[in-house]
Each structure stands twice: as structure tokens, then as C-alpha cells.
Amino acid sequence: MGVDRRAHGFPSDARGGKPGTCNVRVQSEPFDVAVESAHLTAGRTDIGAIVTFTGLCRDEGGTLATLELEHYPGMAEEEISRVAQEALDRWPLMGLTAIHRYGKIAPGEPIVLVVTISAHRAAAFAAAEFLMDFLKTRAPFWKKERRVDGSSGDWVAARDDDDAAAERWSEG
């Protein structure tokens, strides 16, 4: 499951504004939140709100050595792109970036990044939460824990509250 799938940029209609950008990437390397934010906002003075979400690998009380993230190459990018398009359809965003890593990840390292930009904060916050809720429940990634005591640990179990978090967006 080696090769990186690179920037899937595609234009989006920001509901009457300038067309926004949608960047989706699946990669093994770390990402830089500041670089991604700057890229998304470059040259624009019509943005009122930037929300970034960074998901990090926790050390689990010092017991975790590394996390191994397996993914379904191809489908991972496609599924994140589908979720991203849903967010662009639902909220008046000027753009978004969603990056998910795979492979070995150490405690303290970033796993996932979502950046949303909009004229107003409500749309940027809602879209970022929506993206995370659906990345959690729909993007084909699986976490396996390697413990500091050398044991291989377990596959992380899916959380019911993640399903519940995703479910709430289907109301109304």
C-alpha cells in the first residue's frame, strides 16, 4: 500500500462568490498546518473565518509506542473527496483542505487536518466538524496500536459516539 496519492484539487462554487478550492490529500508524510492555511487563503481578502482542526496521535498515558494507520488506497482519497463535496454543497465555504496520513505515526504527531474558510464563522465551524465526523466514520482508515512494552496491541475499536456524531448531520 505504498504510493502517495497527490493533491486532488478541484474547483468548487462558493455560492456566488469567487470559486473556492478543495484540496484532498492522503499521504504518509507529516503536514504543516500553517503552510496549508496560507495556501488556502493566499491572495484573498474576502475571508472572514478560518477554522483548522488537527487530530494528533495521543500517547495513551505513555503506553503507546506508535500507531499504524492502514488505509484503502484510492478509496481513501475518493471517499474524503465525496465528504468534502458534501461540505461544499451544504455550507457557503470559500474553500477547504482535508489531509489524512497513513503509515507509522508517533505520539504527538499529526494524523489528520481539516481547514475550512468562509465569510462567517458559523459555516467554517460547522463544515469543519462535519468533515471530521464523516472522516471518522466513512474514510477507509484503520488504526493499530503498538505498545511500548513491545506487544503489538490491538486494532482500535470504532466508537459508538463517533457514529452518533456523524448521525446528527442527517437531521433536518
Binding site: 484510492g74 472522516l135 484503520w142
Partner: protein, 83 residues
């Protein structure tokens, strides 16, 4: 068609992917899970709680009642834990 497996489904089966040739009577994802489960103990173990298994046809999530006709790639995996 090609079957692909991820996470503990992959580990239990002991393969990342394989070409499969189910008979015509195997029409849905649920049928295919049943058919695969009969192939050996490793498959039976992987699919022992069939309801927890997620499936995708040609890289799109599907339910167990989805038809598999025309599928090139069918994936089986546990609930996702990314993010």
C-alpha cells in the same frame, strides 16, 4: 472479481487480496460473505460477526443487500477508525 481485505479482516484471512469466482447464486454482498465464510476456518473467523463487517464495491460503501453483479473489486473491512 477481486476481493480485497483490510485491517483485522485481512489478518484473519491471511491475504490482502485475491481473485474470486463466486457462482451465479451469490447475488448480494451478504451472499458473498456467506460463500467466503465456507471457504475455510480463516474466512469463517474473519466473518464470524458478519454484521460488523463493512463492504465497498468499486471503492464505494455499500450495504450487505447490495447486488455484486458487475463489480470489479469488492472490499471487506472492519468499521473505520481514521480521523
Amino acid at each position: 472479481m477481486k476481493a480485497v481485505y483490510f485491517a483485522w479482516v485481512r489478518e484473519r484471512i491471511g491475504a490482502t487480496d485475491e481473485e474470486i469466482f463466486p457462482p451465479e447464486t451469490v447475488r448480494t454482498v451478504a451472499d458473498l460473505i456467506g460463500w467466503l465464510s465456507a471457504k475455510g476456518e480463516n474466512y469463517a473467523y474473519a466473518f464470524e460477526n458478519a454484521k460488523t463487517i463493512r463492504a465497498a464495491i468499486d471503492r464505494t460503501h455499500v450495504k450487505h443487500d447490495a447486488a455484486i453483479a458487475g463489480a470489479r473489486e469488492i472490499a471487506f473491512f472492519p468499521p473505520m477508525t481514521g480521523g
